[in-house]
């Protein structure tokens, strides 16, 4: 199916703001933090200009933006917020409250490094830290995906089998601020696709009262947590169903991951976000040279489609798993740990290596990626070329584990 829509040029932040305009949510509490600040600014302008009638709450902190979002969503209003980095860290406690209360609110996350040192550039340490908070997490490679994922978000989160909050992630500056081509969809079909929010129970339901946020003792608490986990399990099917329906609307196909030259690849990289564009360029170049290299680009990280990832990687000889965040566990990063575990469970025979890259916005060039693929081939041949703790593009006196 061919792509549908209206060609435009805009940044990732503009793209999600455009999606928000089309959705016209009920309430948005937000607090500015680079590089997501533009999103509440754009929304405020659209409200001021009468383009949307969302109620904006200019809260005094991110903790309060998530707290107010929880109140608003529990009250029965479709709610969203936006943040980055330390803002997400400040919300930590209440991220869990949002998920455990089964509140399908949306968070536009523009990924940025956590302090310190304080740094405003792209890194996944913020959302990776929140990976066990019970939120759905969907990542974008570019502005188009950030826009498309935003349009699909409420359909997934609000589904009766899921009822969980959703984080729509894009890389700070690289995606959020760079202007690229995009295909927008017309307002009418978008509104029809997203639909109205019709929760079953909520605080302001006129014919019943409701209590939210109980203290629960041990005989009840564990069951509540297991029920919540089921929402995450159920989300896998819903994500694919919604993607299928979105494809009808847009002509663009989405799943748990995107395979790029992966089907016959001997050497594959696994990565999340904007770096995948660079990796694809490197693959195009290496394929011309006859090298069988490929990419598995993770779109959905929560729920974690480990079986599907492993299935897609099982024919590879060596797999490099890239992490744009430190795990500080003396072993590597979270994507590395989870993908490796999934491959082990699926009895994949490939050699694996976990490589840390791009921390605090460190640039990754096509030549860097080419070097990694060369080393993956050596790894498959039994040569330990990565060292004990590989970092890509690190300026270090000891080059032994620098890729």
């Amino acid at each position: 199916m061919s792509e549908k829509g209206i060609p435009q040029r805009m940044s990732g932040n503009e793209a999600v703001a455009e999606a928000i305009r089309q959705i016209n949510p009920d309430v948005m509490p937000a607090f500015p933090i680079t590089p997501s600040t533009e999103i509440p600014q754009f929304v405020s302008s659209m409200i001021a200009n009468g383009q949307i009638d969302t109620e904006f709450i200019p809260v005094e902190s991110e903790h309060s933006s998530m707290s107010a979002a929880i109140g608003s969503e529990a009250a029965g209003a479709r709610t969203l917020t936006a943040t980055s980095s330390c803002g997400l860290a400040f919300m930590w406690e209440v991220l869990y409250v949002a998920a455990s209360n089964r509140l399908p609110l949306m968070l536009e996350l523009v990924n940025r490094a956590l302090s310190g040192p304080i740094n405003i550039n792209a890194e996944h340490s913020d959302s990776m830290g929140a990976r066990d908070s019970g939120w759905l997490q969907i990542y974008a490679e570019n502005n188009q995906e950030a826009y498309d994922n935003t349009l699909q978000a409420y359909r997934i989160a609000e589904h009766p089998d899921v009822k969980l909050p959703i984080m729509i992630c894009q890389d700070g500056f690289i995606t959020s601020h760079a202007v690229e081509n995009i295909m927008l969809l017309p307002d009418g079909p978008v509104k029809e696709f997203v639909g109205e929010y019709q929760p079953e129970h909520y605080l302001l339901k006129e014919d019943e009262s409701m209590a939210v946020g109980p203290y629960a003792i041990s005989p009840y608490c564990m069951e509540a947590k297991r029920a919540q986990a089921q929402g995450m399990i159920n989300a896998k099917k819903v994500i694919l169903d919604v993607a299928k329906e979105f494809e009808q609307l847009s002509g663009r196909k989405y799943g748990f991951y995107e395979g790029y030259q992966l089907e016959d690849a001997d050497y594959a990289l696994v990565a999340i976000g904007s770096v995948c564009g660079t990796i694809k360029d490197a693959i195009d170049k290496l394929r011309e040279e006859g090298k069988k290299v490929g990419l598995l680009k993770i779109r959905v990280f929560r729920p974690f489609p480990g079986e599907e990832f492993a299935e897609a990687l099982k024919h590879c000889k060596a797999v490099g798993i890239l992490d744009r965040s430190e795990g500080y566990n003396s072993v590597g990063g979270p994507v590395g740990a989870e993908v490796t575990a999934a491959m082990y469970r699926a009895k994949c025979q490939a050699e694996t290596v976990n490589i840390i890259y791009g921390l605090s916005g460190r640039d990754v060039r096509v030549s860097d990626v080419e070097r990694v693929y060369e080393k993956l081939k050596k790894l498959a041949d039994g040569e330990n070329v990565f060292g004990a703790y590989p970092y890509l593009g690190l300026r270090s006196a000891d080059q032994s584990d620098c890729v």
């Binding site: 309430v27 509490p29 109980p214 203290y215 003792i217």
Partner: protein
């Protein structure tokens, strides 16, 4: 604002909005505060009740039972202000879009830990933004839920588990934060301080005014805790009366920026009358410690004089 005449029988005969059977301690001041603030909602009016984490929350909404007849939300310890501001904004959004017909009132409760300390920022934000809500602090002067640790609302020299008395300690070294004044400085339409006096008229009148004044309102209610203050539970009303008669806990309100004293004792009683009944001040009555009571009295006198000036 429409205020009903105070009729004790009629008000106490109103349907309970905090149902019995909750797990609060016998004689708990916080429970008296909540039950009577909710009585100030006019019968038939809808409300959403918020609550910071604390004794009240863990004892009144323990799954699968809730003591609240109205819709209720607890989120966390430090965010009752922000949480209810989200609920109140959702109300306006749904109303504007024709999804809601009824009128709702918004009232949230927090102890002094959730209000004076960890929740101060969230409260300040909600008050400054002017959400149409009432924040009620039931001030029992310490973190009672976790076992009587000092808060910034704890009076000076009180014996708490983090300011224990001992060879080198006379209890809490600092005097209490004046939160009502801080909230009044937000220039909101209504701030009041009250406690349990007589037939609870002062509490009722202020709660009703707070609920039915458009915009943000704040109520600070001294709500003694028999376990933390170490007194005989039935003495609560007498202790509250002594708090007011000694001018330790003056009754006042700030209406559209105008300070009003609601009660001036004919004969201001010495502070020790208020302290004597409470085990947390027992050490002040050890011979040789008279100077501590004098210092405390001086602090109370200073604050009282400042309040009189504000109220002209």
């Amino acid at each position: 604002m429409e205020q009903t005449a105070f009729n004790f029988r009629e008000i106490q005969a109103r349907e309970e909005r905090l149902a019995p059977g909750h797990r609060m301690c016998a004689g708990c001041g916080g429970t008296i505060a909540v039950r009577n603030v909710l009585k100030a909602l006019h019968p038939g009016d809808k409300a959403v009740i918020g609550n910071a984490t604390g004794c009240l929350e863990v004892s009144s909404y323990m799954y699968p039972y809730t003591a609240y007849e109205d819709s209720y939300i607890h989120n966390a310890f430090e965010n009752a202000g922000a949480t209810l501001s989200g609920v109140e904004t959702a109300y306006h959004a749904l109303k504007k879009r024709g999804k809601l017909g009824s009128e709702y009132k918004f009232i949230t409760f927090g102890g002094d830990g959730g209000t004076y300390d960890i929740g101060l920022q969230s409260l300040s934000g909600a008050m400054e933004r002017g959400h149409d809500m009432v924040y009620v602090c039931y001030d029992n002067g310490a973190y009672m839920n976790t076992g009587v640790q000092r808060s910034s609302a704890t009076p000076m020299f009180a014996d708490t588990t983090t300011t224990p008395t001992g060879k080198n300690s006379n209890g809490k070294p600092q005097s209490r934060k004046d939160l009502a004044t801080i909230i009044a400085a937000h220039n909101i339409p209504y701030v009041a301080q009250t406690t349990f006096i007589g037939n609870l008229k002062d509490l009722y009148v202020k709660a009703e005014r707070a609920i039915y004044t458009p915009g943000a309102a704040f109520l600070n209610i001294m709500a003694p805790c028999p376990r933390g203050w170490k007194y005989d539970a039935p003495d609560i009303i007498e202790i509250c009366k002594l708090g007011v008669e000694t001018c330790y806990w003056p009754l006042f309100e700030v209406v559209e920026g105008e300070w009003r004293l609601n009660y001036q004792p004919k004969h201001k009683l010495p502070l020790e009358d208020f302290l004597r009944k409470q085990g947390r001040f027992k050490h002040l009555f050890t011979p040789g410690n008279e100077y501590l009571i004098e210092a405390f009295q001086k602090e109370v006198d200073k604050r009282w004089e400042e309040l009189l000036k504000k109220c002209n």
